[in-house]
């Protein structure tokens, strides 16, 4: 693959947009019901699933019913995933005899996968049984993605409908999204991945003889399980030697496909997409990157179609693309610089720490930018080890609120909130009270927008502050100082924005972080979804105003600039001081001496 960063990016964007456009049409067709009207069997299948859930599609739900359905649906998801983890040692399909996961870790993981965050405080191959992976985590990968998509569609309907009470039927939307969008696409992607060597098996692990004996040390433990200390207080170690290695296997390809496609990001293996079984070749790397942005980009086209003005979708897409390219460029430039401390040692070239050599700097930065733009959180390089500003770019993208393409559905509804905000602030400047897509933005709408712009910064900053103040929080930090601060800030930014990628370097599988981050993930998800649905309900009730020369145009380059400005100003101003104490000062210290 060509190592030129601009060629790779351009190729990626072209292929992405070529695939996203027809998918956008398809999503519109599925969720507006044209598909089930055309084919009876589609309609029948949908009806069957709805009957299984004991409901029907007749009700056009007002926003609060829609929100209630979504929350109940997700709460059940949390309970199921929690139960699977706690009970996995008694359940079938557990070839490697995994024991029960601790309560706090189970809770964290259950919330994490249900909220589309896929923050992982555990190592997959050493914690979860195949059943938990397949019936718990992979299922939530589908359902959390479907949740995001239907909420975005409900918001679009709020704009598109006039003087309407309902936003559609949540159960029907969830069924349609899962059956006709997520399932077929992930089948295709899983097959492509499997063809490239990604395992898909129910077998446990393969045991092989290594070429050479491996020596390692383990700390000695007393009968009560505490580490035994020597005279100087250091743990006493025992020398070990082994000539065999167990290589973890499992149903990886199927989980990998939806991991990217649903912007979930929770890897089967701890090393995520840097692991050769998750991401064996440059081709799978490219396919995985495409899968991450595919639905978020397609939904923007769907949005344009559903509101009846495709230029509106293109404007939003343009703003996303510009932000993406700018932050990718920043990250690539930062990462291409040699680390001055290593350059002292006579090593030339860009910093390779934390980079998988199979992918190199460019493909790693592209992946890092994509995975943090979208709220995916899959990684093919260790963000913790990137150069300070190169690691700062993904952090900044997460803090923008995951709206640069963003998570499936969540990216679009997040961006539309910013669009409403941009229109509200600047729209007055044309001498009319603000309106977006023909809907007046009044008190009620601003209340909902205010909740969404307040919720996430509050969770991120308050969470980080608690971690910084608490002994249990500071204990997890392996690198004190500015970098340690970045690690904590990244953890809470990632959780509250439902990204799920980790800066690593922070020991998070502790009750303190598990609980606190789970809270951040849950409220980071539903303190947005509920107001977004309330906003959609309010918008749907309003009449759609006619467009004239006196209407603020929301499809031209000017609006794109405005939207970018709103994202940067409102989305990012909150984090500037914190970033200054993290990556920025780290960068300055590295390059301008300690």
């Amino acid at each position: 693959m060509n190592a030129d960063p601009w060629f790779q990016m351009a190729l990626y964007l072209v292929v992405l947009l070529l695939l996203a456009w027809p998918l956008g049409r398809w999503i519109d067709g599925v969720l507006s019901g044209r598909l089930s009207r055309r084919w009876r069997w589609v309609d029948k299948t949908e009806g069957m699933f709805l009957r299984l859930a004991g409901t029907n599609a007749n009700e056009d739900m007002p926003w609060w019913r829609y929100a209630f359905a979504i929350i109940v649906f997700n709460l059940i998801g949390v309970l199921v995933v929690y139960a699977l983890q706690r009970l996995q040692q008694w359940l079938p399909v557990n070839p490697t005899q995994m024991g029960a996961v601790s309560p706090d870790s189970s809770f964290n993981t259950a919330v994490s996968f249900t909220t589309n965050t896929n923050w992982q405080g555990y190592g997959g191959e050493t914690t979860m049984s195949h059943l938990t992976q397949m019936a718990g985590l992979a299922v939530q990968n589908f359902l959390s993605a479907a949740t995001g998509i239907v909420v975005a569609i409900a918001l679009i309907r709020g704009f598109a409908r006039g003087r309407a009470e309902g936003l559609g039927n949540a159960w029907l939307d969830l069924v349609r999204t899962t059956l006709w969008i997520l399932l077929p696409l992930s089948c295709v992607i899983a097959l492509i991945l499997a063809s490239q060597g990604v395992p898909q098996t129910l077998a446990g692990s393969a045991t092989i003889r290594t070429l050479q004996a491996t020596h390692y040390q383990v700390p000695l433990k007393d009968a009560s399980g505490h580490a035994m200390l020597d005279a100087r207080g250091a743990p006493r170690m025992q020398e070990m030697t082994t000539t065999t290695q167990r290589i973890a296997l499992g149903p990886v390809a199927s989980q990998e496909a939806i991991k990217e496609l649903g912007t979930n990001g929770g890897g089967f293996f701890n090393a995520n997409s840097a692991h050769p079984f998750e991401n064996p070749s440059p081709l799978t790397n490219f396919v995985e990157m495409l899968a991450i942005f595919l639905i978020p980009a397609a939904l923007v086209f769907t949005f344009g179609r559903m509101v009846g003005d495709r230029r509106q979708g293109i404007a939003v897409l343009a703003a996303m693309t510009i932000l993406f390219v700018a932050l990718y460029a920043g990250g690539v430039v930062a990462q291409s610089q040699p680390n001055p401390l290593i350059a002292h040692l006579g090593v030339s070239g860009p910093s390779m720490e934390g980079i998988e050599t199979r992918f190199g700097t460019v493909a790693s930065m592209l992946f890092a930018t994509i995975t943090t733009s979208a709220s995916c959180g899959a990684v093919n390089a260790m963000h913790d080890s990137l150069m300070p500003l190169a690691g700062g770019a993904p952090l900044f993208l997460i803090q923008l609120g995951e709206v640069v393409f963003g998570g499936v559905g969540s990216g679009l509804y997040g961006m539309l909130i910013f669009a409403v905000l941009a229109v509200f602030i600047a729209g007055l400047m044309i001498g009319r009270t603000p309106e977006y897509l023909g809907k007046k933005i009044g008190m009620y709408e601003m209340k909902m927008v205010a909740i969404t712009i307040l919720a996430v910064p509050l969770l991120v900053l308050a969470g980080t502050a608690i971690a910084v103040l608490a002994q249990a929080g500071r204990a997890g930090v392996l690198n004190p100082g500015a970098h340690g601060f970045s690690e904590m800030l990244y953890a809470f930014s990632s959780a509250a924005n439902n990204n799920g990628s980790a800066f690593a370097g922070l020991s998070v599988d502790t009750p303190f972080y598990n609980v606190l981050l789970a809270i951040a993930m849950w409220f980071g998800r539903f303190l947005i979804i509920v107001p977004v649905l309330a906003l959609a309900g309010g918008l749907a009730r309003k009449p759609r105003l006619a467009v004239s020369a006196g209407t603020m145009p929301t499809h031209g380059p000017l609006f794109v600039i405005l939207l970018i400005g709103a994202v940067l100003l409102v989305g990012a101003l909150n984090y500037v001081p914190a970033l200054a104490l993290g990556p920025v000062v780290e960068h300055l210290m590295l390059f301008h001496g300690h």
């Binding site: 600047a426 007055l428 044309i430 601003m446 006196g550 001081p577 914190a578 000062v585």
Partner: protein
Amino acid sequence: MSHASTRALPMFDAALLKPALAESIKRLSPRAQWSNPVMFVVWIGSVLTTVLGLTALHDHRLPAPAFTLAVAAWLWLTVWFANLAEALAEGRGKAQAAALRSAKKRVYAKQLQEPRHGSSWLPVPSDELITGRVVLVEAGDTVPADGEVIEGVASVDESAITGESAPVIRESGGDRSAVTGGTRVLSDWIVVRVTAKPGEAFLDRMIAMVEGAKRSRTPNEIALTILLVALTLVFLVVCVTLLPFSLYSAQAAGGGAVSVPVLVALLVCLIPTTIGALLSAIGIAGMSRMLRANVLAMSGRAVEAAGDVDVLLLDKTGTITLGNRQATAFHPAPGVTAQQLAEAAQLSSLPDETPEGRSIVVLAKQQYNLRGRELHDVHFVPFSARTRMSGVDDGARHIRKGAAEAIASHVAEQGGRMPDAVRERVGNIARAGGTPLVVADGARVLGTIELKDIVKGGIKERFGELRRMGIRTVMITGDNPLTAAAIAAEAGVDDFLAEATPEDKLALIRQHQSEGHLVAMTGDGTNDAPALAQADVAVAMNSGTSAAKEAGNMVDLDSNPTKLLEVVEVGKQMLMTRGSLTTFSIANDVAKYFAIIPAAFAATYPQLRALDVMHLHSPQSAILSAVVFNALIIVLLIPLALKGVAYRARPAAQLLRRNLLVYGLGGLVAPFLGIKLIDLALTALHLG
């Protein structure tokens, strides 16, 4: 037109400034600040830094009392400047209210025993008059309360309310029957039925309105306040959490942590104080600009809606055309000279006092130099609905003029007939939107006078401007569709409603609204009331009935239907001002971050000085400069808030581009320059 002197106040009049200064000091109390959450946060910050500064004076373990007190002083100034902006805006209203109040004296009303002229009356104080009572108002009396004339006709001086010195006629029945309390009857008498409760009269409402006492925030203002409060809360969280962040960093890096006064300074600089301070002043100033146009908005909501309107329903007569039709040409019948026709037409119109009649005389004089003559033994035959003709009998001559059909039957009775050429001419004139009047002398048809609606000068350009702004104009007229179409084309309106009845008007408004438009209209008659109530912006003429005034949400004191265009402008300008200052305020934050962040953490991480792109003198002077800029920008923008940003009739896209450049980009750049200059000044004065 002579407006009352209170209506054209200069921006900073000494008479206004003094009470405003006093008022602004009074409002430094927390109770007054509570209603403005953004400024309340600044107020708390001021108290906090003052306490910290004073404590530091005695407790030497606390750092830099001089710096802390300097920050405190500028924070107090910030609060005070915000108060000043509001007090100044309200002061102008108060001056207007004082002038109005002088009209609202307690008078004794002559309450009639029976509701008819000539009945005996008792004196009753005007503030004890209740609805439904009937009073007599005679020449020289002040009208004691709002009411409806039920008997009589009188000339009334309404200058106390309208500023218009020419008296107006008020009479029972019809659309000129409403009288307003506080106005004065100049001649004759009227019997008035009281329609308003004491304290709720038009004048009371007007005083409350201009004083701003009852000013409730408009929907958009509330929505904006919600956003500003949300931003304030976000930045509060940012600044509060910065303390533990800084303590952690300082512990790890071995430097000093950020101090509380610096965090307060950062908070005040980041929260949208500029727009928070000026928001209510902008709203009050908008109302007051409306009043200067002699339009009384019944609520701020109406002013806001005026900016949103995109369909204007305009009455043809008085708005688009001059009040009445005018003669524009004489078309003689075959065998008659134009001179003869003009002479006969003039003769028949000399005693005719209608505007049409007068315009015929004027045209005859202009075209044929025919002067008015003394009329002797001339018998004037006035227009009647039965004959549909008017004319004169002058000896042997029996000149009649009237509608073509009326004249045709008139000459037929006398044995004459209408020549075909005249018939044809009549048809042509009607098709072109004019009104043909046929003139006959006895049985002989002399020819046709062409009357036309004269479209007001410049109105076409005005409509073109509105169209470019995306506002559609619809002409409402009682004329037939043919005439209406011709005038519509000439005036350049987008659409017209011919042969309009009040029901048609209402239906038209509903139809536009259902298509997603916001509609504005003017009206004066009682039968306009349903349409006025339905319209989004409804300007009632002050001369109109009280039903119309009740239904409208604005009253035009000049009773000038063209005012609708000004109303839209004022509404738009107010919204633009609000939006521009909000954008400016938020864009300012970027520069403030660059000033404060490196300074705040200078003790922890000296490396962050690399972000100090302005090269400010010292951390303390950097923070102080940002705080000073934040306070001064409020004062600098007060005139803009009161006057409003420059209004231009342009399409939305152009307006957005321009204002975004000026206030968005300007808001990004201005504070960089301002903070640097203040820093230089502070350093020069050794204050930094």
